[in-house]
């Protein structure tokens, strides 16, 4: 039961870099090996380009018109961002309502859990009818619905996560409801919120691309992938897929960075 020494910031940061390096090299190596295998297999078995282009070809295609691809990626990404911003905000709001009025929770939360398991992307064609199949609104709508339910479920679980003792403590201070919410329930829900946001970052990028398969402006990633694949220009399709991965990853990493900044007490928690 000895105290963990509270190290100085400098020591801690060196420690962290070393730890980070140890964590990062196995996946990086695995990734590079996988790419090399892919490249080798394409050349060795002379796989025709319309079936599977080599990574080097995909990269070359991307480098021919990087700004064009990143540009159409941005159109799709901004839909994902907008949709998840709406969906997640509403999810948080409704979760707060659920805690305040438990009868809302009793009715809504089981349905929300069920809805999290439903492939909401199937709504895409209908959203197209309601909001215009080419419009950004129909994509944003699908993504908002997709991200709303998991956020609601997760944040609600977080808001009711404080244990009885933690609540009794507040009671013993004769804390008003507002203080219980702001100083106990809300911070307790933060890790749950960020879990949801990380899931939604991934989900929204998938939703944005797939929703565009059902129609969208010509300068959007999903439309581009679909049309290029349709005429067997697989290098172009793959390079667009690569861009979709890139945006998805960046979105995810930005959420992780915000999470670390907002919850400094969590950072070294996992190490224990």
């Amino acid at each position: 039961m000895q105290a963990t020494t509270v190290s100085t910031p400098a020591v801690r940061s060196i420690d962290q870099v070393a730890k980070w390096f140890h964590m990062i090299w196995p996946p990086v190596l695995t990734f590079l090996v996988a790419i090399a295998l892919w490249e080798g297999a394409v050349w060795l078995f002379e796989i025709p380009i319309y079936l599977l282009p080599a990574p080097s070809q995909i990269m070359a295609t991307f480098l021919e018109r990087p700004w064009f691809l990143l540009g159409i990626g941005m159109v799709t990404f901004s839909n994902a961002l907008m949709g998840s911003a709406i969906g997640c905000s509403l999810g948080v709001l409704v979760a707060i309502f659920c805690v305040r009025w438990t009868f809302v929770a009793d009715g809504l939360v089981p349905l929300a859990i069920a809805a999290s398991a439903v492939p909401i992307i199937a709504l895409s064609p209908l959203m197209g009818i309601w909001l215009g199949s080419v419009s950004a609104a129909s994509k944003i709508g699908v993504i908002a619905v997709m991200t709303f339910f998991p956020t609601l479920v997760s944040v609600y679980a977080g808001l009711i996560s404080p244990r009885a003792d933690a609540l009794l403590l507040m009671r013993s201070y004769a804390a008003p409801q507002r203080a219980v919410f702001l100083k106990l329930r809300m911070p307790a829900a933060l890790p749950f919120l960020f879990n949801a946001l990380r899931v939604c970052a991934t989900l929204s990028m998938i939703g944005a691309v797939v929703a565009e398969f059902f129609g969208g402006p010509r300068n959007a990633l999903g439309v581009y992938i679909k049309t290029q694949a349709g005429i067997l220009r697989t290098r172009e399709a793959w390079s667009a897929i690569m861009v979709a991965c890139l945006y998805g990853l960046i979105f995810y990493l930005v959420i992780v960075l915000i999470e670390r900044w907002v919850m400094p007490w969590k950072q070294r928690h996992s190490g224990q």
Binding site: V6, A166, S172
Partner: protein, 261 residues
């Protein structure tokens, strides 16, 4: 006895369980003077935690009256008369140790400067002066429990309720913290009345002015053992023949409750 700070007048507590009503506490009458250190001891199911919770207005009696400083427990709670320490430290893990100690003061709307100063003062008192900026998970169980004692004392409550606070700690840490608790309590100004729930006979005798021995099914007060060991108590107190005699007395008393029950 001076005017009691805590008064139990024929108090009973009955829970409506699935298998019919369960009497957790039966006809308890008890008076506790201001500044006393009271230990509640007994086998599980004897209602010692229930008794503590009735004082703290965490539960309400089914029969009889509880008076705290001649007020209802509810009023006393609203007047912030209680500091509570649970078996687990219940520190909020998103707050540093200092911010945890400041929490009650924050809720009570004390100015920032005063909060900060008071928290540092208390952390020094419990031997955590250098750990104010650490997060709870960076401290050992014993240190976390010290922080939770500092938090309970931060707003200088007149009554300190402790529900098996050292129950989850190892024996060595436990004995050290008992001694520290006594000196913190002795030095605190004003000195709070302490209600200390425990399973440990030596712990009860070492800490308390009076040990309330309780018996189960239904929970009631079996006997109250006066502990007239000199204060301030020290490490050597545990080796005093009188200490052994009192431990034996409480033990015999507990055995009597078992054969009776």
């Amino acid at each position: 006895m001076d005017t009691p700070i805590i008064e139990f007048e024929r108090v009973s507590k009955i829970y409506q369980g699935g298998a019919g009503p369960v009497t957790a506490l039966h006809d308890v009458t008890l008076r506790i003077a201001a500044g006393e250190f009271i230990a509640l001891i007994g086998p599980s199911g004897c209602g010692k935690s229930t008794l503590m919770r009735l004082i703290g207005d965490l539960e309400q009696p089914s029969n009889g009256t509880v008076r705290i400083k001649a007020k209802t427990p509810d009023q006393a709670r609203r007047d912030r008369d209680y500091g509570i320490v649970f078996q687990s430290p219940v520190l909020y893990d998103w707050r540093t140790i200092r911010k945890n100690v400041e929490l009650p003061l924050e809720i009570m709307g004390r100015p920032k400067e005063q909060r900060h100063q008071r928290a540092m003062e208390l952390l020094k008192l419990v031997g955590l002066g250098d750990f104010g900026d650490a997060y709870p998970h960076q401290l050992s169980g014993g240190m976390q429990q010290r922080a939770s004692i500092a938090r309970a004392l931060s707003f200088a409550p007149s009554i300190l309720l402790m529900d098996e606070p050292f129950g989850a700690l190892d024996e060595i840490t436990r004995e050290r913290l008992q001694l520290e608790l006594l000196s913190i309590w002795w030095e605190a100004e004003p000195r709070p009345t302490v209600i200390f729930v425990t399973h440990s006979i030596p712990e009860a005798v070492f800490l308390a002015d009076r040990v309330v021995v309780m018996s189960p099914r239904p929970g009631r007060v079996q006997r109250v053992v006066e502990v007239n060991l000199a204060r301030p108590r020290a490490f050597e107190t545990r080796e005093d023949p009188q200490f052994f005699a009192l431990v034996t007395e409480v033990r015999e008393c507990l055995r009597a409750t078992e054969t009776a029950g």
